[in-house]
Amino acid sequence: MRTRSISALLALTVLGGCEGCEEAPPPAVVERPPDPRVQRLFWMTTGSTADEDVARWSEKIANGADITTLADQLSRDPRFGSKVLPRLLFAPYLEPASYFAVPFGFVLSQTEPDRAGRSVYYLREPCEAKDAEAVAPWWNLSRKIRVCPDAHRPDKWTLTHEEQDYRADIPLACDSKIGSPELERASVCGCGPNLIRCARDYAQYSELRAALQDEVVKTTAHVFEHDLPIETLFTGETTFRTRDAELLDRRRRIGREQRVDAQPLLAELDRWPRAGKWAPRSSSVEGQHAGLLTAPQLLHLVPDRRQRQRIFYEVLWCKSGEGFGATTERVLEVVHSGNLAFEHDSWKRLASMEFCTGCHARMDYGFQFFLGYSDSRASLHYTATAARSGRGPLYQADIDDKRGEGPLTPAGFAELAVAQPEFDRCMATRIVEHVLADAAEPHHFEEVTRVVEQTHSFQRALAAALKMSLASKPAPPPSEDTTEVSAALRVMLKEHCIECHYEDTYLDPSRSLGKPFDFRPEQLPRALLLRMADQVAFDKMPKAPNTMTHAERRRFVELLVQHLFDAGDARSQARDYFLGARRGDAVQGIDQAFGIVEEVAHREADVRWGPLERTTFAPSWTYTPSFAAVTALHALRACQAAKKSGEALEACVRDATAPHRFIRGPLR
């Protein structure tokens, strides 16, 4: 139901008294403009325009309802779990195609039908029909097809080291990329029993690949909707799998067990709901699974184990894969041969070396828990014999930051990882960054972290963030303070920097890379102050646990800019860079934006996008020329699908790309 304003109704009363009229004109409807807070609440939580709900709630709130009731209601809306939350948690790892988990080389081709109407499936080269073998393929067990012998090979499961010149000490399996025609050295492997490793065609291949992404999205949605503990996402054997995703899980089991006949495991797959269900995965040993960490989309997205571990830490602890401060001299000194990860236990040396330990203690000790899962290029199933036994430690910042020990299994890793304070903080961060965008302050993160610690609930965390957003105050205007710079700067340096920056004397850029330079001297080099401004302006400094509010950060940078640049063009340009950075407003995630465009156009756009936007986390979701262009293209296609042309098309595109629909930020 649309709302009408009181003033409009009064106007109608006056105009309506028309004596002598044969028929009163229909009352003109004047809509109450939607409450922008309500509108943003819906966009942010449901990824939808929800026009009717927005109108209804705007009316209710105008009549005195408490908007926090709406925030509470929307914090339980399942659409947040399915449309928004997966992107907040997994953004860079959801979109890229997992070419390792579903090797591209295992797509069959088909010959033209012969006179008898028979065609033959092949992997490498076609063969004579008479040579082809009859096989019941996994996609239709009741109807055999003809396959070239080299594309079948049901009993070939592993590659010997002579058959592949890949890494020496890793088990090599036929179900992997190196067993596929894409990376094979010679024709060794085929599609296996019931062609279980292969796809019939590219359409089927794409469906299988999409199923891996679905597993991540739907598992997240399920955990959110049922308000399961957040940790459930990353621990245990259970995920939400479509029928295709379940097929891929069974495929891994078939590989693990090296079955020559896959049929018994595939026969009742038809009973699995096509849309999926929440169910445990198969496993051969205790602790083999760790929630979504062992879902192929995350586990096999990248080839090697360190990269895999880097993904895990970013997802679990918001720990980015950055590493800075290495010098050629030191690297030459410490590395004598080889990739130390693969040389017996020499990775331990790397994990404790200066410069290296900041990443490698975490990564290299971390991947010991996952050794049952090989390098993604070499094998796609769990190999119990490759796993380590016993218990192992987990490190966070470096080799001096041990966080406990657990069984050397994926489950052992996950239980330790989710018990760390960084996990709660990270989950809270993902929510706060989305809801408060650039207005998020340290206390917002702290408060939502407390909610996560206490409730382990995404819904409660979201509710808390939404209410903070409704209550947040506008940021103070940019400071025009002209206080004596050095004294003011000195106070801020003491408060935020000196705790770490007191040892190394700054020399010059080539000799000071990555060192915590001493900030205590009265006179600091200009080059150092410049770097300081850059690091603070763009949130690289100060490092946790020291934090700065936006106002403090802005003031710090302002002081530095005033100190470094003369008034006029130089200062104005520097201020524009350090404090503006050409960033546009924070916007919704690109898929939410597509959804909004389609709702406005009332049609879906037939475009399968692969934009870089999908690889980023919420802090990078801002109005860029790319975002504007992509949403415009999407709007064009959606409006055309709605049969709009001429001026109607122009109006539709304009309406569907209206920036206010996409801009994200505080709800005040």
């Binding site: 860079p92 979109e95 890229p96 195609a97 070419y99 020496a168 950055e322 590493g323 800075f324 401060g325 290495a326 050629t328 690297v331 030459l332 004598h336 080889g338 990739n339 650039d438 010059d508 850029p509 000799r511 890379l513 410049l530 770097r531 401004a533 850059d534 690289k540 130089a570 340009q573 524009d576 860079y577 950075a581 050409r582 960033r583 546009g584 407003d585 399968r608 996008w609 692969g610 934009p611 870089l612 690889t615 980023t616 802090p619 990078s620 801002t622 109005y623 860029t624 020329p625 790319s626 975002f627 504007a628 262009a629 415009a632 293209l633 064009l636 098309l649 122009e650 595109v653 920036p659």
Partner: protein, 415 residues
Amino acid sequence: MDRRDFLRVAGLASASFVTESWPSRAYATRREAPRYVVLVLLSGGHDAVYTTDPKTKSELAPGLDFTSAESIVEKGGLRIGPHLAGIADYASRISFLNGVQVATANHDTGITQYARLKTNASPRMPSILDLIGADRDGQPVPAVYLGTSHRSLYTPSFFGGTDQIYFAGNDLLEVGDTTTPEEQRVMAKALAEHARSEKARGLSSSAKGTVRHLAEAGAWFQRLSETPAFKKTRHSDDYATQALGEDLDRTAWLIEHDLTPCVFVEAAPLSWDTHVNNTPRQAHITQLFVRHFTRLLDTLRAKKNRHGPLLDNTLFLVGSDLGRFPQLNDMLGKDHLPQTSFLTIGRGVGGGRVFGATGQQMEGLPISLSTGRHPKKGGTVPVLDDIGASLLHLAGLEPERFGYNGRRLSFLFDT
């Protein structure tokens, strides 16, 4: 008539938003500044000993991987490694800079830094091309990124395409190729209108950013509607080769039609990250790159637009996020080294010269900031920030105002 007047006279209504809130260059009209800057990332780390810094056995410490003397090409004043031999015809126009410190052995950090030509950079920072392209001469967008796969390239002014392998190529450039001029004008009009209405709304810096970026996207579609469409050429059945070929073709198209002052090309599908079988893989991908890169140079050399011959107006910088360790590992691969080298060609490059110096372990040695050579005494090792500062200076921008504390390498560009 100054540059702003020119823009107004040219009637670029939407472009005027673009230039309004971003101060103009200190000396934007300097003659030596290239009209186009192309930054190419050989993703993963090229091997200097086979490309820009070939060394024989006697020049290196025992046990290190070396280049055979007969495979080194000496031409036009350059000593060219065997993997780059295909570019020898351009030797007199090319310079190398070796031994550049990047302070990281990590690809993520390296790529973030490379796009900014600044160490310890943040993904939130504009790229160096965003800065150079911010104040431009009529082109619709500051920079176009091609073949991107890494999220740190999603800069605050990002505009461009993605790696065709991981993203299936369905980016705004590919989808944009399927639109008609009439459709492009519809989008241009909508975006320009939004830019105008948002301008009325906003006071904050982010609102200004939104206005600017809406206007840029609108101007892009407007210019696209007036520009011959990009035509794809079939180069290879191999997707990585095809992707690279297409991205370099598109680079030529962007320059020829003056659609942007800056292009970033991530040659991602080839991946120079050769931890296994380094030498043959480096040879294969670098030679493949060289084949397509020289084709691009040939194209630009043969063509001109209203601003002059294309190659003469374009500066190329080709480098990597990090380098390769000088010694082979047990898998005949090479691990990471926090040091890279650059190839430069085009406007501002003297050519036929090798700058920078490396020692017996391929380690970067100190150089004179004025000559680029290893002095008998003193000197300083070049750092990535020095390249950034020098490039900004060439482009007419004052590096410090953009947080660059690197030294100006006066030898690198002829200014």
